[in-house]
Symmetry: C2
Subunit: 320 residues, 2 copies
């Protein structure tokens, strides 16, 4: 039997929650929403079981520039496996990767990325894939910030995750990226367990290999967890409508729409990449994380726009 | 911030855990496994995050005789919708349902059941479907026990769920039944939240209907969570190998195999329906919940066989 006492986060941590958020309308909107739904005996009270929040990953929790992290991973995989695949010299997006034409790669978008993931990992078991991911992340560095990708996460968002958890929220990642690419490190980096990650996925096959039951990754896309796929992924995995959705691009439009259209108090948040000096300023024209329609409609929908330059004291965590 | 103290279940409840389990080798095997993996500073210690248990539903947590509950639900749906579907008089399994040939229906098995679910709920939203399920369960009664199906759950298994939770296990249902058929009631009946249910599913489509974002159930099977589908469903939803698996039929064979082949301490349990007076005695020859191969191999695999007649003091909960 678990006996729990809920104390104020600030008291226990010995510091203010959301401390990397500057005081202002954005921080106030987040805090006042949470305080509203946890106030017992009020019409907006939401019981702990229903406190579900969904967060996009790329560009929302960690950096997606100059390209999706998973794309950097996949490019490295394509390069290391190219010798075994002479046919790639005639096939896109592989051809562009091998000729160093990153613009051509970018043009294939998230779908091109997922295709490369499938091609470079066919026949591998899920455990083997998790190992490859972990080994790559331990070694790879962000080309601009020169630190591990898992340290190119947004400090204010880590604090927002903590803040929500301190108010008994259950947090799911809902990402267009591959679910198996995120699971090996999300517990350590975000405090989110693998079973609370929803993402794109390839088909799996159960097999007994040399007496050992394994799950084999097939070279067949089963689900793309992006755009209208996000509400579908949420329903498949969670089975009820979250009350908070946080994203940063048009890939999150339907998720924001679905979550904030629910009855009762709802919060939609968009991280707007406005900070050209500490990070990268981008929105309507970016090949990665394009934010256009959702930016245009944010105000009418009541979605909170986080202005990274204005609202955040810090972007990345202090070096470890 | 949540501050938790873990107290002995027995102390808090004021009563012995697993009290509907008779003392003997089966109860002892369950208790000694749990005590072994929660003992800190021992080689078999499993940290709370990794304490994941998966339970089949039909025949493991609730009664599946004289037919799967979802089949009784679907037969009622087919009968009420038949006037709109004259073509069903020439199509199996609908023809058998409408002519009252339950043997013919049974012969179509779990796949026939899923086909009927799809046909009777095409175009319905997930919220509408949840309502239909809830209304049916509130009204329907088990044909033999004359009580709601949600009271035809196994009292000793409810206690096993409580016992595991008191030792910080996270419990998932992994059922061949439809995931959306279980989610409306599992929290109330088993204490398991909707996001911890894995099951068979139809394809979903995100739509905005009259300004309202909804998820529509399409008449297309996406996934059958049975046999080798169970380890696949587990990996898709959980992303790591559970340490306890509990089932009752050959549909659970691969799940038991996958879970118990993992490294470190593992527990596989099979509920064997041996009690012809309090419930129904069935195994190798039953059209629902056939237990043949898993029964034959249980001993060599080290899977615990629960003998319902011998091991359980009570089968169903006392009337409410």
């Amino acid at each position: 039997m678990m006996v729990c006492f809920f104390l104020e986060a600030a008291v226990v941590h010995g510091q203010e929650p959301l401390r990397s958020w500057r005081d202002g309308a954005t921080k106030e909107a987040i805090v006042s929403f949470v305080e509203r739904i946890v106030a017992v005996d009020t019409p907006d009270y939401v019981p702990p079981d229903e406190r579900i929040a969904v967060f996009d990953n790329d560009g929302t929790l960690w950096c997606e520039q100059p390209m999706y992290v998973q794309m950097a991973f996949v490019l490295d995989r394509v390069r290391s496996l190219a010798a075994e695949h002479p046919e790639w010299n005639q096939q896109q997006p592989f051809q562009s990767v091998l000729s160093g034409d990153l613009k051509g790669v970018a043009a294939t978008g998230e779908r091109g990325l997922v295709e490369m993931v499938m091609a470079t990992h066919a026949g591998m078991t899920t455990d083997e894939f998790a190992d490859v991911v972990s080994r790559w992340l331990a070694m790879a560095k962000h080309p601009v910030y020169r630190r591990p990708y898992t340290e190119c996460v947004y400090q204010p968002m880590l604090e927002m995750l903590d803040y929500l958890r301190s108010h008994r929220f259950k947090i799911f990642i809902v990402s267009g990226g591959g679910v198996e690419f995120m699971r090996p490190w999300v517990q350590r980096v975000y405090g989110i367990p693998p079973e609370q990650v929803i993402g794109s996925r390839v088909k799996l096959k159960y097999e007994v290999r040399a007496g050992e039951p394994v799950l084999v990754r097939l070279p067949e896309l089963e689900f793309i967890d992006d755009k209208s796929g996000k509400p579908v992924g949420i329903q498949q995995a969670i089975g009820r409508r979250p009350i908070i959705a946080v994203g940063n691009s048009d890939g999150d439009y339907e998720m924001l729409q679905y979550v904030t259209a629910g009855k009762g108090p709802r919060l939609g948040v968009i991280v707007h990449h406005t900070d050209g000096s500490r990070e990268v300023a981008y929105d309507r024209g970016s090949p990665f994380g394009r934010l256009d329609r959702a930016l245009t409609e944010a105000s009418e929908k009541g979605w909170i726009l986080v202005d990274m330059e204005r609202d955040w004291n810090a972007v990345f965590p202090a070096s470890r």
